[in-house]
Symmetry: C2
Subunit: 287 residues, 2 copies
């Protein structure tokens, strides 16, 4: 699985380098390249695989795959800012505001969000109907009713007097990480005008399992393996899936979510195996 992820990551990386080449050599362009390097490319992989399942050509799927990675990178750059999570380290490297400065990091994130929409609306991505549809769903997944809403709930949770309940944390997660995962996993079906229900069910379970595993890593991982600071949530007294379910409970919950995710793909038969492998990988990862 990791080899397959790595191969897809390389394809996505090459395409990102290509589209960023005309942006020149200023700090914002350099910061955009820096921020879009590395990472597991799980979201891009989901786009590529869901496209493959529906016989959408890779030359079309690479555009939304790169778009979602640009959008994800923007969210990390802004999330790491001092006024937000205040993180110095990301993927084992200094964060953008540490390597450059805060103004550059704000602009790099802003430009990466624009880039995501530029990529998803690119003519090579498919017919106009597909591009307009992907733009609309991506904007909704990213914005104030999707990812950004989740981030805002996350920040509010840090200063709340009572810790969040399991329901509240699940809502928060559905926005913060779930919305982009859902968009990614359904992109291929959307491009092929196919039924998005099986991939939606898969993505909702996967997204939640992914976040639970993140919380597990925050408790059990070490910073070197995770490539970022760990133990922050516990130190901040924040409610997490682990604090609410216990470590064993959280692991059991993510395992059953992965089973549900895999089952949701039964209509795809053997062809769904790569996405099932990804789901299993998500809860085995340590970073």
């Amino acid at each position: 699985m990791q080899a397959r992820l790595a191969a897809e990551a390389e394809t996505i990386q090459a395409h990102l380098s290509r589209v960023l080449a005309p942006f020149g050599t200023g700090p914002v362009a350099e910061g955009m390249r820096y921020a879009t390097q590395g990472g597991k490319r799980i979201r891009g992989f989901l786009v590529m695989e869901s496209a493959r399942l529906h016989d959408v050509p890779e030359t079309a799927a690479i555009w939304p795959a790169t778009a979602i990675e640009a959008l994800h990178a923007y969210s990390l750059v802004h999330d790491d800012l001092p006024a937000m999570d205040n993180d110095d380290l990301r993927r084992g490297q200094p964060t953008v505001h540490i390597k450059w400065d805060e103004a550059t990091a704000i602009l790099v994130g802003d430009a990466l969000q624009s880039l995501a929409f530029e990529l998803v609306a690119h003519p090579d991505c498919g017919p106009a109907e597909v591009r307009a549809g992907l733009t609309l769903s991506l904007a909704r997944a990213a914005g104030g009713q999707g990812m950004v809403l989740g981030q805002a709930l996350d920040i509010a949770a840090e200063t709340a007097t009572t810790p969040l309940s399991l329901d509240e944390i699940t809502t928060l997660q559905a926005g913060k990480t779930g919305a982009l995962i859902l968009w990614s996993a359904t992109a291929g079906a959307c491009m092929a005008h196919a039924d998005m229900t099986p991939l939606s069910t898969y993505a909702r379970a996967l997204g939640l399992a992914f976040q639970i595993q993140d919380d597990v890593i925050d408790v059990t991982g070490d910073a070197a393996a995770a490539g970022k600071a760990v133990g922050k949530d516990a130190a901040a007294g924040k409610a997490t899936f682990v604090s609410l379910l216990g470590l064993d409970g959280a692991r059991a919950r993510s395992a059953s979510l992965v089973d549900a995710a895999c089952d949701a793909l039964s209509c795809y038969g053997e062809r769904g195996e790569r996405l099932r492998d990804l789901a299993r990988f998500v809860i085995s990862r340590q970073s």
Copy 2:
């Protein structure tokens, strides 16, 4: 002219309120509403008028008009942040990071950018071909080769050892304010699949005249009338059109640009008069 601008502003405001209603009552949603209130709506007006010139229905044009105002509002919210221009006052009101906090201001700007693309890709905006085309051009105008590039050049200019030349300032302006004005003024022609050349020529001249007048206001205006801090550029020893051309020279330049902008619309005859009025208004305004 001001009455016509005000009437169009009201239409745009009403539409923004409608599309923001489902965003709920959290700080990000409230901040989005707050940040999109007021302003002259020059960009939205340009969209509506260029659409009218090409017989594009108002019910379609309102979507890109609202989109560009959401995008403009995002750029102001981020531009006002302490790490950027560090402004406490905007349109006579506390800026978003003053009224709420920095994290909220970052998220409000991010969500407003997403909203802009959600609006421009909305089905009621027109056929998919139009929506995909507007998305692509808006993403390019907003991003690291357009507006954000201009903002980055502006920040670099503040710490540069030698002041910018007239050419450099013109390039900076073409990105920072020119790109969105160009997009707005050509949106109607784009929606009608018409020749965009006359409106492009108009918009380039108008955008430059607009920025020159901004520099004039920074020198001659008072904060109460401008609704924001003035005199900042001179205090910072920054090169501006006024410092490079002198006050009279800057005024003469913007007047001749407005003439050029008006001339560019000759093919539209009488129908172009509203956009000519707007160009004249732009260099007469004091805020």
